[in-house]
């Protein structure tokens, strides 16, 4: 029955395409993430505006946890899959290898190419081709509770990772909060993002010039040792080892932490009295740097929107992507995710009411460090996630754990 429908559908589509009347009612199926950046409500509102402006196109938006996003994109490779998918900056290499995403280079005009931040373009570019449009330009920021800092006698957030430890220790010693630091260090990509942030600030590298793992020495090793030491010193909430981004937000928003590393979306949510008990006391700064090495640290956590090669509605899908990534729409919904457009960062409407967020973003977005580009990224990341956990749980030393991960990853290559 279904096979017949598909055949009939295919024939009908052929006829329509041939007659040039391709604008019957179309339903697009789009895949988004329910984790950070734009909220479900944002996506719903944007989509409703798109539908109003484009009669005849309906959009079903599907939101899944980040943890399920990659597998959903891979698993939906058939005629009943998605027309638009949100994907992470680390996947295009793999997707290109399996030809999962449409090359849309020819659809992007020069004005767009010039207007979007360079860092954002890295999200969708692989091997010279464009596999979609960047939509989320995001990185991890250091959030701090201004009241707790003041109580401990600090009037500025830490500029270096060492200073972060000093401030945290002072706050703990004064009994202001038991565990001043909270992170998303569960066995997940979120932990890799935190690790990459610190690694970049400590001058580390994932892969050396020959593409061999290099994170098990230098800044990469320093970063993990730093993470473990904050646990050993009782500065980091030990439950961080089972947290994702939303747990971090909840712990910080309920006033149980003085510092948190999280994506930009947390700024306006932690300042919203309906969502948070620390509203009004939330500070944001670029993640700190290291003396003599870096001024700030950041990970490239950007995401893009692409069209799966098997989509039957590529024209409409592109229209939807153009709409969502347009400067106008992004400027309007700039509270949880900052635009990918350079001009937006000097647009008063975007800046208004969230000056500290935009200010921090200007610094952070400029120093975003990439996670490694490799076709087997998912697997490499899984090996590294396990290594981080083993070290953080004390099952092995940071050096041992990273050495093992490095060996596993070189075997993959």
């Amino acid at each position: 029955m279904n096979i017949k429908n598909i055949v009939t559908g295919a024939v009908a589509m052929g006829v329509l395409a041939a007659s040039g009347a391709a604008h019957a009612d179309v339903t697009l199926n789009a895949l988004f993430m329910a984790q950070a950046a734009y909220s479900e409500e944002n996506i719903r509102d944007m989509t409703a505006q798109f539908e109003a402006a484009n009669p005849g196109i309906k959009v079903n938006a599907e939101l899944v946890p980040y943890e399920a996003l990659h597998d959903k994109i891979v698993l939906s490779q058939s005629a009943n899959g998605y027309d638009v998918v949100l994907y992470d900056v680390v996947w295009p290499a793999e997707f290109a290898q399996y030809q999962l995403l449409e090359d849309v280079s020819s659809r992007i005009d020069d004005k767009t190419r010039a207007g979007v931040l360079d860092g954002a373009w890295t999200t969708v570019k692989y091997d010279g081709a464009f596999y979609g449009m960047p939509w989320i330009a995001d990185t991890k920021f250091l959030f701090y509770n201004t009241e707790m800092l003041k109580e401990a006698g600090f009037d500025a957030p830490p500029a270096t990772w060492e200073e972060l430890k000093t401030q945290a220790k002072a706050i703990k010693d004064k009994g202001i909060v038991e565990y001043p630091l909270v992170w998303s260090w569960s066995q997940s990509e979120a932990a890799i993002c935190d690790y990459t942030t610190i690694l970049s600030g400590m001058g580390g590298q994932f892969l050396d010039a020959d593409g061999k793992p290099a994170f098990n020495s230098g800044g990469g090793l320093d970063a993990l040792e730093y993470m473990v030491s904050t646990l050993d010193d009782g500065l980091t909430n030990p439950n961080s080892r089972e947290y994702l981004e939303e747990d971090v937000r909840r712990v910080f928003s309920s006033g149980q932490a003085a510092f948190a590393l999280n994506w930009g979306y947390m700024y306006n949510l932690a300042n919203d009295p309906a969502e948070s008990q620390v509203a009004g006391n939330v500070g944001i700064a670029p993640a700190p740097g290291t003396d003599g090495v870096s001024k700030a640290s950041a990970v490239n956590g950007s995401m893009g929107l692409g069209i799966p090669t098997k989509s039957d509605h590529k024209e409409e899908a592109w229209k939807y992507i153009e709409f969502l990534t347009s400067e106008k729409v992004q400027d309007k919904f700039a509270k949880l995710s900052l635009p990918v457009w350079e001009a937006s960062y000097s647009n008063p409407d975007v800046i208004k009411g969230q000056e500290p967020f935009v200010e921090a973003a200007k610094t952070s977005l400029a120093v975003m460090a990439p996670r490694p580009t490799m076709a087997s990224y998912q697997e490499a990341s899984a090996a590294l996630q396990e290594a981080l956990q083993n070290a953080m749980l004390g099952a092995s030393t940071p050096k041992e754990a990273l050495d093992e991960a490095a060996e596993t990853i070189s075997d993959m290559q």
Binding site: E67, D71, V74, Q187, P238, R241, E242, Q389, L393
Partner: protein, 294 residues
């Protein structure tokens, strides 16, 4: 002549079932065996399937992580089924006594059993939440725990906590089966034994246990086979973490094939699991044949 026609009818009546089983289970099983000998990828598997012989199996059996996953699965199965058996029998013994509220209590056993596995997993994940979960709050408030702790974030306790959730859902099954068996034991057997001077313990070993052993052993093997498949409760509660301490074989196969797209080696992992399950299934077949239930 008649018996020949009967045979034809017999096979005709079986046809729909055979067609469906062959199509949905038989053919895929053979194809899995084929995939396991190739390097097939998830996308266009038939185009990418390069014959690699037994390489996938060799790699699987020499992979420490896979063997670890087998160990986690075995631990999960043995501990959870063991606990379900003991608790189930105790509950059945209790419900076999006459007391007010017995019927209500027996009806309550249906609740965990009918609760969808995913809902059960989610419910316990909320209960175990390190900051806002009920377990920490309860234990601290009654003084059994000094400070909040992480239940699912600690490799030393994570798998046990998952097991606890599984036991809560499945012990009623064992209890109901054991209870049905208990009710077939004649009361005068106990009275006679009591007159002989046998104590409670003695009566349990001599009369009760032998009487319910049959159905109980069936339930034991069935639950073990089920426990070996465990996936959904892990997926919802821990996704294999922390430090991969709750990664079971089903989760491992899922990851290999659907996250890393290696259908070939995923299939070889799956078949190793099948081999282990087959031993259990054979045990089960032996039991039901012995009891003449088929």
């Amino acid at each position: 002549m008649i018996s020949q026609r009967k045979t034809v009818t017999a096979w005709l009546l079986l046809t729909p079932m055979i067609v469906i089983i062959l199509g949905v289970s038989g053919y895929p099983l053979i194809k899995t065996i084929y995939y396991s000998l190739t390097g097939a990828k998830l996308i266009a598997p038939d185009l990418t399937s390069v014959w690699v012989g037994l390489d996938n199996y060799v790699r699987a059996l020499s992979s420490g992580k896979f063997l670890e996953a087998i160990w986690h699965t075995t631990y999960f199965a043995v501990i959870s089924v063991g606990a379900e058996m003991v608790i189930g029998v105790l509950v059945a013994l209790l419900l076999n006594e006459a007391f007010a509220g017995r019927t209500v209590l027996r009806a309550m056993l249906i609740l965990p059993l009918a609760l969808p596995t995913v809902v059960n997993a989610m419910m316990w994940r909320l209960v175990y939440n390190p900051d806002f979960g009920a377990l920490n709050a309860l234990l601290v408030q009654i003084g059994m725990l000094d400070a909040y702790r992480s239940w699912l974030g600690d490799p030393a306790s994570a798998l046990d906590m998952v097991i606890l959730a599984d036991v809560w859902k499945n012990f009623p099954l064992v209890a109901l089966i054991a209870l049905a068996a208990l009710q077939t034991v004649p009361k005068d057997l106990y009275e006679a034994a009591t007159l002989d001077g046998a104590g409670v313990w003695n009566r349990f070993w001599r009369i009760t246990l032998p009487a319910i052993m049959g159905p109980l052993s069936v339930a034991l093997v069935l639950r073990t086979i089920e426990a070996f498949k465990v996936f959904d409760i892990i997926y919802v509660m821990t996704r294999g973490g922390p430090a991969s301490s709750t990664k079971t074989v089903s989760f491992y196969v899922y990851q290999e094939a659907f996250a890393y797209m290696r259908v070939g080696s995923g299939a070889s992992y799956a078949l190793i699991v099948v081999l282990i399950s087959s031993c259990l299934i054979a045990g089960y077949m032996y039991l039901i044949r012995k009891q003449g239930e088929v």
